[in-house]
Symmetry: none
Subunit: 216 residues, 4 copies
């Protein structure tokens, strides 16, 4: 982390055994960081969990941060994949519900790592970039959705789609944090319901035909 490096730069593993060790380290790294947090995330702990020797760590990773970045990247990919709402779902409100449900679920698995890593984000530009990418994915998706609804006359046209997406996305994100980390005992399904109704009301979502704004 800032020392000049004289070590051979790790190369992509060429043998099957190498691949296995490499992957085992990533899995172990994630497990360690989830179970013991940032402070417990040491090469020693990771290699021990992976069942390999200490030195092997630097055969595959340039540094602790290198492994961390890979873990975060994997967690981010996973989270985004799991958050995708199928195109087949047409009803706007149903899409909101589904997006929220999936976000809270995805978050339960991957966001632990992401949150834990946020501290590091103040120091490492690569990590900061990764986190921004994830955020951008959600904000962009939210903004697109809102814009489409506005164009369809289903949402308040005075709202700036991006600002609105940042705000409402933040709402869901923060609730995920509360659920997953502060362990306030919340009923997830009830929360999904509230989040969705709040989101819909906030943008003035109107059912195409009906007078009722929000389905009871």
């Amino acid at each position: 982390m800032g020392r000049a490096r004289t070590n051979p730069a790790p190369t992509a593993p060429t043998t099957a055994r190498g691949r296995r060790t490499h992957d085992a380290l990533i899995v172990a790294g994630r497990q360690v960081i989830e179970e013991h947090g940032w402070a417990g995330f040491t090469p020693e702990a990771v290699t021990q969990t992976a069942g390999v020797s200490y030195g092997t760590f630097y055969t595959y990773f340039e540094s602790k941060d290198d492994l961390l970045r890979r873990i975060v990247q994997a967690a981010a990919d996973e989270m985004i994949t799991e958050s995708l709402v199928p195109d087949t779902l047409d009803d706007p409100y149903a899409r909101i519900v589904e997006a929220n449900r999936r976000y809270l679920a995805a978050t339960g698995k991957a966001a632990k790592v992401l949150r834990m890593v946020e501290h590091g984000a103040y120091l490492d530009d690569n990590l900061r970039g990764l986190l921004l990418e994830i955020r951008e994915f959600y904000v962009g998706r939210g903004a697109d959705g809102i814009r489409r609804l506005q164009e369809a006359g289903l949402a308040d046209p005075d709202l700036d789609p991006r600002l609105t997406a940042i705000a409402l996305g933040g709402m869901v994100e923060q609730v995920a944090v509360v659920i997953n980390e502060l362990r306030e005992p919340l009923d997830t399904e009830k929360m999904v319901d509230h989040l969705s109704r709040l989101w819909a009301s906030a943008i003035g979502l109107r059912a195409p035909g009906a007078g009722r704004r929000i389905p009871a």
Copy 2:
């Protein structure tokens, strides 16, 4: 070896000089943590910034964590004080606007420390407690406001006040983070407007007499 602590337990300074040094250390501590983050927050950095010798740190603080707690406590107090909305403000929507404006402003000054410290919250119960207290203040205040509006027939009675406060409070909190840390160039006043409109619409806030409260 289990040696008992023999060092003077820090006491409140009795002389003016002592008071000055003590305060300088708290100021320096906050500055250091804001500029260099948790990782840069060392007794050495703090004393150097304050222009005193290393040992002086322990004249006033039991430990690094002791200072940290005081800084966080001060930041929390400051933040909450600055967030209070005057009782003289009666109009519900105006209160929402004011609360949001103040929150974003307070956050700009104090939340930097709080955010930076959140990582520590995974480890230290005192800090975690402090952060939870702050959150509880905002959640409680939000929930009370919503409940009152519901009782006055001005807000959607189907919403659980606490869940709603957590969600909408989270929205504002997260936006504050985005503004203050990720430095996405956002127009704060415009954001206050959006947050307030979203919050109001979300809970279905209705002007007592008029048909629609939110300006089109």
Copy 3:
């Protein structure tokens, strides 16, 4: 901050090199404590004496006290082993002479460490325990010997074996201190002779057949 220990808990070395370093540290530790006393016994001094880097200390020992305990344990074992009087020696007086001679000799090698460590004994329960064990070994052995002589009608039956062993054992112990530490120039062999005669007379040891046991 209550960070959990993340450093590798020292394990027994698995390689020859590791064994060598480990042993070198123990040897160096004993040397340091003998030459510079408790106050000079620092990880830095020990590693420098052993010719390894500072950090290596903690590869093998959990703490300074950990090494200290091992040194003391080794010294204690060594001392007790060297103090054993062969069972083949039958004559009671000859056994007393032999025990004293061996004690003074053993003490010359090991007691330096033990004495130096006594100060620590006021603080650390493990060390205190070790020292008590050693004392108990000698007191127990002495008391047994006296009891047997009493039963054989060879020693004053009015003496409490344990009290007597504590007293006479203390005599030999203290003389060892004087010889080894205060460096009063004493003729060891002459001292052994005196100690043995005093011990024998004190318990009223009588040769089975003869009138007086102690040579005039």
Copy 4:
């Protein structure tokens, strides 16, 4: 303790107030060392116990060791004074009993400090000198007594008075340690009786007229 000194050398207090403070510090020092041991013996603790400010310490004492020396000197004087056996006591055995009783008693009050200080004796020549002086007092007195008894035909003439005094004096000294520090629950009066009988038997003390060696 080895640093060049630039402080004004403390002078003997001239005012009554100064005298009082000076004495209070010595008393407090002894109390601290007895209650909290060597490790707790800090200028801070001493001044606090004496109820004066930290800096006052160096008004009266050059250093921590300076105070320590004065404490030890006082304890030594006290111990020796209390150990004196009145000249009016004529009977040799009674004198032995009295000397042992007084030694154990004196030791209970003063030896705590002395023992605790022995560690320092390895470092500081002044202290070592003080301890040697005390020892010499007892050894000399013991040797004189033995010599007189030998000259009176009451003790084994083959014993070297000095070696014997060292040995038997060591016996009593060590027993005092056991009683006072290791807190083996021993009946002091019974121990005095044993020590005296052992001492008398050891030197072959004979009652002037009688055949019995040791009075029952």
